[in-house]
Symmetry: C2
Amino acid sequence: MTTLTGEMLIGSSSIRGSDAEFHAVNPATGERMEPAFGGGTRAEVDRACDLAWAAFDAYRETDAESRARFLEAIAQAIIDIGDPLIERAMAESGLPRARLEGERARTAGQLRLFAEVLREGSWPELRFDTPLPDRKPLPRPDLRQRHIAVGPVAVFGASNFPLAFSVAGGDTASALAAGCPVVVKAHPAHPGTSELVGRAVQAAATACGMPEGVFSMLVGTGNQIGTDLVAHRHIKAVGFTGSRRGGLALMGVAAARPEPIPVYAEMSSVNPFILMPGALARRAEAIGKGFVGSLTMGAGQFCTNPGLVLAVGGDGLDAFLAAAADALGGVQPATMLTPGIHAAYTAGLEKLAGNPTVREVGRGCACNGPNQSQAALFVTEAASFLSDPALEEENFGSSSLVVRCPDLATLRTVVEHIEGQLTATIHMEESDTGEVRALLPVLERRVGRILVNGYPTGVEVGHAMVHGGPFPATSDGRTTSVGTLAIRRFLRPVCYQDLPQALLPEALRDGNPLKLWRRVDGMLTRD
Amino acid sequence: MTTLTGEMLIGSSSIRGSDAEFHAVNPATGERMEPAFGGGTRAEVDRACDLAWAAFDAYRETDAESRARFLEAIAQAIIDIGDPLIERAMAESGLPRARLEGERARTAGQLRLFAEVLREGSWPELRFDTPLPDRKPLPRPDLRQRHIAVGPVAVFGASNFPLAFSVAGGDTASALAAGCPVVVKAHPAHPGTSELVGRAVQAAATACGMPEGVFSMLVGTGNQIGTDLVAHRHIKAVGFTGSRRGGLALMGVAAARPEPIPVYAEMSSVNPFILMPGALARRAEAIGKGFVGSLTMGAGQFCTNPGLVLAVGGDGLDAFLAAAADALGGVQPATMLTPGIHAAYTAGLEKLAGNPTVREVGRGCACNGPNQSQAALFVTEAASFLSDPALEEENFGSSSLVVRCPDLATLRTVVEHIEGQLTATIHMEESDTGEVRALLPVLERRVGRILVNGYPTGVEVGHAMVHGGPFPATSDGRTTSVGTLAIRRFLRPVCYQDLPQALLPEALRDGNPLKLWRRVDGMLTRD
């Protein structure tokens, strides 16, 4: 079960790629890990996508209970890999055991949550307009609407969640729930973890009698295989979590197709962390300490990492900075996910430190091993921030920049200035309510999730979560990649006019045979 | 009230554009109509978009009842223009009185339907995950989600529905309902109709106390003003109904922005009309007659016009062709919307007639006035159709092409071959059920609406309608531009984590104060 082969998974087959071989690298040691993986070529992209297309009509019409069991079987199969999965993921990612065990639970939980969504049954959003044969001047036809799967989906594994945003992560779970076959492009930083999870999905598909082609997994190191995948005519949507450059490239490929397709790319965010005067006056030190915990968790390698702090200068902010600097001083260096991410983070730190308008507030403990990151906090003035686009760039990792504002009006100007974000956090007391109320509309226009008196890291997987936000936080601010609403990304509506009962999908037949929520003449009902 | 000025409407002002003057042309006479309209420039685009942006936060938070009344006031104001609106629209479009009176009723009906949607209240799709403060290892926060308006929307008036898809048409109605200010680019073929309707919207906005900037209307003849509008940083989505070339151009502009935005372009469709053997055997003549009625209605200038007929050759198809040819012989020529549309249609007819693989089946009566179209039906063989992309192009107007297939397997191949479409129509008898069942999945992948034993023209405005479909029928197959689901195009989700009650939007506060449908821990409830 746990012997890795370095092969790709195409339908029920295992295939060794003929493109350049590559190895995972243990970022904590710099060592090359076995086995060698054979990178995929256009030929394997074609095979996987053709199989996915062949599976599409059958898979999207599997009943909800069968699909729910398939998702649950995947979850169980991942759990059943046992410790070898955790150990391989630790070695490939440098992430600690507890984090990966939690992420495994989250991954299984996501799959099971989408099984619940399927059983609850409102996801196809059934709508009925009852016919009015005697209406003048024209009769009203019998109109029935449901949502169906868009088609095979390309999913790109993310480096920073080798389980929960990877081969069987949220994109895959929501696409499979919607009825879309999935072709995963595994992240080359954790190919062994990907193969283990991919084989679990493959086994679950077989055990559940799903059509071959419902799942395939490709590997490779260059950009070509991903480009080929997104460009393939049988792919109808893309899920991606990663860098802005990567997301923009895929958006370009998708838009340039003869048939453009939607790309759901979750790209970059500095997640403004706003300290209101009342909160600073009352608990600057506690926030400073909590902030450093959020900033440095997982070596800062979270999409929702708080990379930008906004506050009005004064004693309260000084106290926050002192507490944060103090807390940082005790933060041990942490191994980053890949040598490339480490190099980018280090370069970003140097760039910030070398900016004459930026002052260092504090640093974590010095590094003492390969690919380690030293946490860091910097401060600049609002005027500098507003005039220097470089200061707004995300530096992926445990680095953050405090923007000191002369007053709340300037703070608001800074908020109006920044790009779209996944989250914004406000620390406030009741005395700040009026000012926060004025700020909320500005934040609503810019972010997907607004938090009060909390920390943005730790994205709850539920029904009400939004892990999304206006560009460039994502490529499509109308959606979320975490939580049950994510299924909607992979659905589209179809209307059936005057179809005989025998030809209607079961969910749309008279008498509500599946007992689902339906909107009948505009009103929700389950009768 | 009904004296036209040739001005643009920007917020509550009327402004004469300083760009090239233009006049409407009466297509039935070729005569230039008064007054001259002054085309808008970048300066007016900026003013309209800046005003829309300034209005956005206030407008999107108006309560649902106020917005519903605003939509109803627009509907009433349009009705109150009275006959001068119909007369101007007739003169500018060449469409007959009955059609335009019906379209006016439809336009008012759409606005009122969205008022109902607002009052019914489920459009913000409220979701709650109740907090679990004692959960281990981490507590679950209080998460509440609603959908909010995306921002100011650019709406492009369509030539073929001077009321229902124009200044106050479905795009405008759904965007205003969602809480989005609207900046309309009026279609230059009916600027007078547009000014009349625009002034009705403007008056309703003032009467209802809506923020200035909730509505503006620009005019102009070139592409520049539309490009500037879509490129404007304050525009966050685009609604368009028109040609494929126009839609693709706007998609390109939107994708090239520093912040890409969604474009909802409804572009081109030939709406396959499929005749199954059983239906042909039993009622070929009736279908032929009905088909010609659908083909020639409104001079064929409908998005859902049946421009492609698929059937297996034989006696039944011959009878259909004979009946259609016979019916066509009695079809009077009809004035087309504009000289440009007429020229394109005529060129398309000549191209089809000159194609050596195509044979003419029948024609309508000869033209006897300017800009008139002669209806026409052609036939070709499946093999020719499959090898000649030109035969799949839409010829906007009352022209259709029959593709004769040697057997049902080939018919299915043809269906698999065609691009995305708004609709597909099947004429069938019970004996055809098995074959149609096999065809349905193919159609579901390709179209937004499937009809049985009807005609695709005549798009019901309701809750279950889908006027959409995969590219190139539209730029975004996940949506509809007709019916109440259209509101979703202009909404995006926002999540509120641990907000104090005082800062939550009213709809999300404890106790469901607005008595709305909500999804609580995954379950729909109105309690």
